[in-house]
């Protein structure tokens, strides 16, 4: 089977302008059947606009949206087979939980018993039994969120769209509801497009993440690929914590190409494109750097601990190395005293990400510094 066959939702060259600004500037994306695809990006990147284009609240200026191969352009929202869960849930305040969920079914003129049956089923699925008669304002935030999801699921949409559905919940609840959403989505196997600005949320919940910035997709891939093999320094910096550094490719002591990072020299990983002048940009995750007291290890550069923050599962250090501050995580701090003063750092070359230092990249680097 080709990708075109498995793509349940397919976006091709979608563009949308508001006045002079391009909110979405040529986005193509395949969403596999039954998958949960997250559109991840900072606020204002166009991710919500993209979702509204799929739902039909907006019409694209260019491009094509297909669901199951059927073009969706020109169809108003009520004729599309999508259902949206809104950021603030948008529950109808004048309708009970039951009537909220039944709303879409009644519009489809389903017979009364069928409506009742399907509503009860989905309410059971969402563990909302017993709350049928309540008005939305008498529900907790988590319950409202589940009603909103139930209301969208009950109409059995081809594609479920979720717009920052957790942003109105407190931190604790957010984790729980996130797990519930994922669990139900997998159980029902419903194709879902999920919009969020929270990279941790995206990593936790997605089959596929599409990172979006300034109206374009920068990278599409599995959570692991996005985190471990970011396509560019911007993605690396947006998803998770990262040290972005300048480096130079030099002829190393062994006569082989090596990477010079300040005082540190590392073997150049194979298959890396190198800029003609050897200038490179390096992304290094904090947990990819080993940190030990200066006396304990022989190799690796010496740094000076600026400060240390105990976070429970890790200790986060800021270490000054040849004039640059580096963020370094010690992943297993249990029982160890916090380090201070001079430390020795070690780097696993396999976990380096390298890009030739184009002027654009260097500008980005300066901006992020």
């Amino acid at each position: 089977m080709t990708a075109a066959d498995t793509a349940h939702l397919r976006l091709v060259g979608i563009a949308k302008h508001f006045g002079a600004t391009a909110a979405v500037a040529g986005v193509s994306l395949d969403v596999a059947r039954g998958s949960l695809t997250t559109i991840l990006g900072p606020s204002g990147c166009g991710k919500t606009t993209l979702l509204r284009l799929i739902a039909g609240f907006l019409e694209p200026d260019a491009g094509e949206i297909r669901i199951d191969g059927v073009p969706q352009q020109g169809l108003p929202p009520y004729r599309r087979t999508t259902a949206t869960v809104f950021q603030e849930y948008a529950l109808f305040p004048h309708l009970s939980v039951f009537d909220n969920v039944a709303y879409g079914l009644r519009l489809r003129r389903l017979p009364r018993p069928a409506v009742a049956e399907r509503v009860r089923r989905v309410l059971g699925l969402m563990r909302l039994d017993g709350l049928e008669a309540r008005l939305p304002r008498a529900l907790s935030g988590g319950q409202q969120q589940r009603v909103a999801l139930a209301r969208s699921l009950v109409v059995e949409p081809e594609v479920l769209l979720m717009d920052e559905p957790l942003s109105n919940l407190d931190a604790k609840l957010r984790l729980r509801v996130r797990a519930e959403i994922r669990e139900i989505q997998t159980r029902l196997g419903i194709t879902t497009v999920y919009v969020t600005h929270d990279q941790e949320e995206a990593l936790a919940i997605s089959d596929t993440i599409a990172v979006m910035q300034a109206g374009r997709l920068r990278q599409v891939g599995s959570p692991r690929a996005i985190y471990e093999a970011p396509a560019d320094p911007w993605v690396a910096a947006f998803v998770g914590e990262v040290n972005l550094l300048r480096a130079t490719v030099v002829v190393g002591s062994a006569g082989r190409p090596a990477l010079r990072l300040g005082a540190l020299e590392l073997p150049l990983p194979p298959g890396v494109a190198v800029a003609p002048d050897g200038a490179m940009v390096v992304a290094l995750r904090p947990e990819a750097i080993r940190i030990t007291a200066a006396g304990d290890a022989r190799d690796g550069p010496i740094g000076e601990v600026l400060d240390a923050t105990y976070l429970g599962t890790t200790v986060r250090y800021r270490v000054q190395v040849s004039g640059h501050p580096l963020t370094v995580d010690d992943p297993d701090p249990a029982g160890k005293a916090l380090l201070s003063g001079p430390v020795r750092l070690g780097v696993d070359p396999a976990r380096l990400r390298l890009w030739p230092a184009t002027p654009e990249l260097l500008r980005q680097l300066d901006e992020s510094a």
Partner: protein, 520 residues
Amino acid sequence: MAAGLALFVAFPIGRVLLEPGAGEWTRLLTTPRYLRLLGNTLGIAALSTVSAVALGFLFAYATARPDVPGRRLFRLVALLPLVSPPFVGGLAVILLFGRRGLVTHSLLGLRGDIYGWHGVWLVQTLAFFPIAYLALAGVLRRINPTLEHAARDLGARGFQVFRTVTLPLALPGLASAGLLVGIYTLSDFGNPMLVGGAFKVLATETYTQVTGWGDLKMAAALSAALLFPSLALFLVQRYWIERGSYATITGKGSFADPPPTPRPVRWALALGCGLVGSILAATYAVVFVGAFARTWGVDWRPTLVNFEYTVFRGPQLANSIRFAAMAALGGSLFAVVAAFLIRRTRVPGRGLLDFAAVLPAALPGTLTGVAYILAFNTPPLALTGTAAIVVAAMLVRTLPVGYRAAAAGLTQIAPAIEESAADLGALPLRILREVTLPLIRTAFTGALVFTFIRSMTTLSAVVFLISPGNVVASVSILALAEHGDWGQASAMATALMTAIFLALLIFRLATGGRLRLFEL
């Protein structure tokens, strides 16, 4: 605060209820004529209320949709009737649509007759729909636009969205607006008097009992009879409808705007509002033209003669502005402090105070006027003959609006903000001044402007309270109009409305354009 409300609200009402003797009460209950008038009153109030609310909803709905052409203009037009003194609108309608009206007779050659229940219906609808509009505009604005998108997303098309979401959500607002307008129509005497013809209502009877025969006791009994339906509507509105409101403050919504309005609907809305707007604009044009014409309907040559009298009675206009400004300032301040104390502290008897602060909305103006003379003519508070009683009447009659605005403003401020200030050691008054007041300034300025305008044009209560040297312009306009001196009446009304607009302009400039008119 409580003493003020007791003295200026409760005491006069009690006083007026004690005025009629057994004879008047018997006459009230046994005269078939009064029962017929009561029937007329309730009937026309119901009719006008329904149409005024429908029209108010049309305007509120149209102006709440960002893609309806001309919505800014309609927003302004809908408020015109509030700026005009009573009588002027009714008079203008007669001049335009009456038996010899410019439009109906001269232009279209119709031989209709505006006098009767249908004339009252038309005039009251035009006069009172802005009140419904103001109430409904707020309600519709508070409906989260995302709900309409959600409905469309779930399969609702066109009218279904309106029927299943927008309308049900506006329903408590509609009922509330209806009851508010109902109270106004019940106590409206000016319009039925002008265009009622053979169709008589209780409010007119009350007024004419006083104006015609000076029968204070009977007038008190009649206005008391009017008080009871008003009070009933008021109580229903307060304790039943308001409880069921869905006014949800959701914070930031996903969508700033509702879904696009279908083109035919968009234009139908614009057309409907435009039509009503033109009628309103025409009535004001009539007043304006009348002010500059030699003799209405006979001699159209332009003249300034009519303004001679306006200049001659200039001090009245100054009185209007001065009293209205005092009532507006005092009233808004009182409203804000009362709202704060009642809604945000644990002062004993809050419920009663709350009731007293909105009760004047249910009192027919005539009753207020009569009650004030009775209550304040003798020591300890001999106020009749002073400017103070006029200002007090203006203040109390507009207090409910200001108080509601302030209370609504307070509701939108999370108590947490105030509590955090209290945590930091601020005393209640300091909290009010430094935290709450700045936050409800919008509501405050809105109340200020509304109180000012209504006080400038108020008539029914004030007409009993003015004294030499303290006459206000609206009383003169009534006297002139009653005598058929349309030129002079129009000139004075034009001057009064110009003064209102100038005052608003100055106020707007002074507050740096931050003033949002009628965001109540």
